[in-house]
Symmetry: C4
């Protein structure tokens, strides 16, 4: 069970990794994490340089979006900065799905290209079957008023830990900020690889049965920990 | 209100960032800034390695292009180097639009590809609506004699902080060198993303009304400072 | 003759180089090496960050997949980590071809695009003739149960030190881990270059006689050591 | 007038820059320089890691290819390593054109793609007019026996400081190793940019008169030194 200090570190690292892997340009992406027990969300501040972000600059809010005072945050740190303008979408996703522990939003180039034409990325390679257990879906375009974005995501997501947002970009989400970051990275890789394959021929989507083989193996046997 | 020393630092960093973000190759780009009160423009010297450029190497000129002596520069530093051959275009843009505080010129690869066929980049993604408030326009080709380049830019620019120059490259401009650099970077990202989307289908341009929603929100609520 | 400590170092470096050359994303690749005399294989642990992998974290197994105790490993180091889920494929390739000393598995983007449409990469450039002595073949898709992957590779490989796996990725193999890594890198470069050339025209495959000239020269005269 | 020690440093840096700019992969490129007065050529050794190459590892030969003893080299350094297998092509180019001071050979990806279909890169952008004064030509394929490569280059080169070699790669050459490196880099940038523009429309080649305007200005007024 990670501590709140661990969470703060992981959210900061997920933001750095967005930059390090080339998934954001200028300030155009963000990562957050939640401590469910404490009811505290940590998110990137708005419009700051992501590669030099420090853990204590992360903004702490309650699930209803209320900014928290230092005494309400488990490690006693309250950043004076304004949160990402995308905070509301993160909060609504956390509220809608209690299994989520981390969320990442990007406009990574190849994935966003698919989003611009509102096409899902077909599950045409074994590494997509492993990670996404099927296609990476695409929610139709919505504006960013009210709860439009979170509602579109919840209505169109699958078991995959990522979704394209029509004419917009990518949201990825998983049990931890690090896993959400990984899903965002592999979304970009899948978007790039399948796009290139379409220039060489017609990559075939796997049958659902074939996908299941890879998904099950990957989720049962991979990595150093027993599956959650 | 930044000091002249701040400006010098920012112009130097904008030049470094051109290199760091892959927007220039060899010596093919430059950034400048202006101190309106002092009437001094700082610009990259011609043909030097941009990644090792030092602040004191920036060339100081008046708005009419006259090289300034050390005693005429607020921080008393006069570089012995020759200014960028593109100095004249920068000066004419500063003279034509008093709101400009920084200018960046690149031949970044994806944006220049659009320029080679003299096509504007259609506003087909939300991050373009945010940053550019519409298409990124393209001025028709002109040679670089006299004031041809600055005149073409002024005749064809929109509210977007960047423009393509037909068969040539990119100029970006904004209130500060850092914002001009950001506009040049997001021009390259937009050029790349929309181009890839055209290989997957037909990305739709947003209606002007839809663009306005994003532009207004972005310019009202984003970042850590109140809008200028 | 390299020592076991050298081998451990080389396997670790081959894993680092996978990351450094952009051939893996997240945890999606692995490199191994074998000490034939000691009968010990060293392979990357499952699901760990490849860029921070340390030599002592490599997992040592026998050719039959049995985990080795510290006293059975020539340098006395036994990692507590679980081996890559791809271990079995590596072991079967080492067993099937005694000349192999190193194996690398990637899902590098351009090479995998060819694999998604199950096309070999035609030998259309002199550097492919040098390194691969012909096309880079593509084995048809198989799932990863039992010995399917190693059998598909052995059935479809040529004298080239790399092969595409249909709808999956790349395996490269050579006398040492460093040479296998080089083959994986040059597979990605060939995949990228030939793909781009197909957008510009029809790159011609070399005749076998022309390929032979380059292959023979490269294998006779290149580098600092006499050919093995 | 640079000293021999300067030349050694520059040749080493040109080799490093090949790696730093992504123009070579594994060991697939090389740079050389010549001291005309001393009659000594310095070239990269064969098959070594280019990013860790040290100046004293460069191999010194006479123009006829004879390896020089330490006492025959102005700085008294004789590397024990074997020279690049491409040495002969470099030597023949230096012999054929006394104005050359540095030569660079690459298989950079985008430029090589044009070479695979044996197409010149049309002069469709102002930065190509500046640097190349016209198209980047492409010599038809030849094998690497005898003097075939150097003869093909000499027969098909123009005033541009670079040429594509059919189905092979790029040679760039200029007064110094640093300028040859710059020409190789800008060849790759031009190859990439024009290729992308062809996906968006039909980039127009400049008229010779228009090219001349840019070429003359660039060669008269650019940089910190008077033109040579």
């Amino acid at each position: 069970m990670p501590t709140f200090a661990d969470l703060r570190q992981q959210v900061c690292e997920a933001n750095h990794d967005l930059h390090r892997h080339g998934l954001v340009h200028a300030h155009s992406g963000n990562a957050s994490g939640i401590d469910r027990e404490a009811g505290v969300v940590l998110i990137k501040p708005s419009g700051v340089d992501i590669q030099t972000l420090r853990p204590e600059a992360l903004v702490a809010t309650a699930l209803d979006g209320r900014r928290l005072a230092a005494r309400e945050v488990p490690d006693g740190i309250a950043s004076p900065l304004r949160p990402s303008v995308d905070l509301r979408h993160h909060l609504e996703l956390y509220a809608a799905d209690p299994s989520l522990g981390g969320i990442v939003h990007t406009h990574s180039i190849h994935a966003t290209a698919w989003a611009l034409v509102e096409r899902p990325i077909p599950c045409a390679m074994t590494s997509m079957a492993d990670e996404f257990g099927g296609d990476i879906p695409c929610a139709p375009y919505v504006d960013n008023a009210d709860d439009h974005i979170a509602r579109a995501i919840m209505a169109h997501r699958t078991r995959a830990p990522a979704i394209l947002l029509g004419r917009h970009g990518v949201f990825a989400f998983d049990r931890t900020p690090a896993l959400a970051l990984k899903a965002a990275l592999l979304t970009e890789v899948a978007a790039h690889t399948v796009m290139l394959a379409m220039g060489l021929g017609t990559p075939a989507r796997f049958s659902d049965a074939e996908i299941e083989k890879w998904w099950q193996r990957y989720h049962a046997g991979y990595g150093q920990q027993p599956p959650a």
